[in-house]
Symmetry: C2
Subunit: 377 residues, 2 copies
């Protein structure tokens, strides 16, 4: 659903190039929904999802903390009004000089997933709190995670132990169940592992207090997703099941769930054609593609809702592609997309649910095309 505010803005502005419009009221509403559905958890917005200064300002004012992937994101969080104690350096892969820069900015909470990273933090951010990220299987996620982040749960106690010995404060465990996680019960298994690590550390005389539940909260694309409330109930149920009466502090890191449905990309049809006289499929070329902000169509992972002003007309399946001279710049081909038969060059196309993981993925200037512009309203 494109909000009337966004509709109105676009009708008035009539942009010439593709753009993303973010409705800040919707962002604010999403924040409140997270607060209400998971009242016992601290919210650390995943800045990487959309670091627009206005988005950060609205969230900082509402009380959000920030999960940051780099020193630049930490600075953005601070500029938006969050104090350093509301910032987590959540990337497990950090240059030692970046850790030092974060420490100098006042950040005292860091993610780790191996002894090597612990050692860097002990040198560059002495005395800081660290949580150890563990691997999960990511089942049920539409943008599933590789093994890139986290260590096997069995290794986590040694990593946390190592932190303790080097003068850091091991506070707990984090994990991520996969982005756009449509199974509200997906947190259970990882919470069970986390509880085991808590028990193991207890036997070593170290009391952990924090479980970082990560992100994964979905936004609605074409299919309905479970309500946030269901996620809250399922997660808190599992926490109680595995931690009994020693309930840990919890953190959530929503990114897509916070801003995804607050954004709409306005694009334009550039060409509609066929490859041969008898081609059953039309090719619809838009002025935005994989390199202009729709990187999450990689392997057709995220299937956006595409709205046109001709949606009342009869539809037939199309291949949808971007405007660059790169043949990989095809959005949907294996699984063609039904668009109106009357669609023609110059028609506006609205791509919904594009508030997260779009504008910053955009390439600097591939094929000479400008990066995706963002308007916040």
């Amino acid at each position: 659903m494109i909000s009337p505010r966004i509709r109105g803005f676009l009708a008035e502005r009539k942009p010439d190039e593709p753009c993303l419009v973010i409705d800040l009221e919707k962002v604010r509403g999403n924040y409140d929904a997270f607060r209400k559905s998971m009242p016992e958890s601290a919210i650390y917005y995943a800045v990487k999802a959309n670091p627009h200064p206005e988005v950060l300002r609205v969230l900082a004012a509402a009380g959000s903390n920030f999960d940051c992937a780099s020193v630049a994101e930490i600075k953005m969080g601070l500029e938006a009004g969050a104090t350093a104690d509301r910032i987590s350096f959540g990337n497990t892969i950090k240059k030692e000089r970046d850790i030092a820069a974060a420490f100098a900015l006042g950040v005292r909470l860091y993610a780790v997933d191996c002894r090597e990273e612990v050692e860097k933090i002990s040198r560059a951010a002495p005395g800081s709190k660290v949580f150890c990220r563990i691997l999960t299987n990511g089942e049920g996620a539409e943008w599933p995670l590789s093994r890139k982040f986290g260590c096997d749960a069995e290794m986590a106690p040694d990593v946390l132990d190592h932190a303790y010995r080097l003068g850091l404060v091991p506070v707990g465990v984090s994990f991520h169940v996969g982005s756009q996680q449509t199974n509200a019960d997906a947190w259970g298994e990882a919470l069970s592992s986390a509880a085991s690590i808590f028990r193991e550390m207890e036997t070593r005389g170290i009391r952990l207090t924090l479980v970082n539940l990560g992100g994964g909260f979905p936004t609605r694309y074409l299919k309905d997703v479970p309500a946030l409330k269901q996620y809250g109930m399922s997660i808190y149920d599992a926490v109680r099941r595995f931690f009994g009466n020693r309930i840990p502090d919890t953190i959530i890191e929503p990114g897509r769930g916070m801003v995804g449905d607050a954004g709409v990309i306005r694009s334009e049809v550039v060409l509609v054609s066929k490859k041969s006289q008898n081609d059953k499929l039309r090719w619809v070329y838009l002025d935005i593609g994989k390199f202009g902000g729709l990187a999450e169509t990689m392997d057709e992972a995220i299937r956006y809702s595409i709205v046109t002003d001709r949606d009342g007309d009869e539809k037939s399946p199309c291949v949808i592609a971007g405007p660059t001279c790169d043949s990989a710049d095809v959005l949907y081909e294996k699984n063609p997309y039904a668009l109106p038969n009357t669609l023609r060059p110059g028609d506006e196309v609205f791509i919904e649910g594009t508030g997260a993981y779009t504008s910053t993925y955009s390439s600097v200037a591939f094929n000479g095309f400008e990066p995706l512009r963002t308007y916040v309203i």
Copy 2:
């Protein structure tokens, strides 16, 4: 092979962030090699491969024409010193207002692959020359092309005919055998189709004169590729075989082959770790990844040569990943990459053959990381 000039520059400059260094002498040398190996063809450098102003200036001065994907690229070509008659608007997907802008800038040569695009050009660039792109199968290419560009050869005569009827000048046919094409004989089949189209048009009373042979000329990554001379011989052989004594004018559009081996990316190891105590693979994290310029590692398509100062030490297979919090930001995993066992955070890493299709693919600010910086020397 990293040129001594690039080595020297990096040793002196000691950049703090990942960067691409382009050796202009090498670009110039590559241009001369194309001239020498394919003396009968006009060279249209594919600007999208690397549009750095200095690269374009060197090529314009050497006599190169430019194959442009957008109005922005056309302007860059003009600014570099090429006149409009040396520019081809080679993207088959163009907004009508962009065609008009190109026409106003003096461009008179356009790619098409369907009747719809012909109609746009007839309105926005009346009287211009057009060539019709046809589909090829792309076998033997490491970055093979989808069906995104071009129409089936059977449809081309109608497209060209349509252009003629609308007052345009149908000049010929273009195709692309796939990027990083390591089979020097790959042009034969498409040339045979092109010759059929020439004959068919002749029967319709239209004499075509131009075959645009596209790009595809490889650069050396890890494996040796055939010498440019072999491509020239094989292509001209096929032209003579299929066109007999009516040899058409030909165009080549090298991009990767022109600048690929002129560039080296300097990166840094951020972390080396294992996921469990018994992990057989190390994970090596660099400060550049898929979203910082190495987009062509998508599906591990392009396998770069990675050089370190510890290459004399024993090596073992690693997963190589980028610095962002995106789990898709993994360069080589299915096919691990052997790196020195002694490699550690802070070590420099040189990624060779990165002059093409890197800097402009770089994302604007994903995870807060700056886009890849380019230095030309």
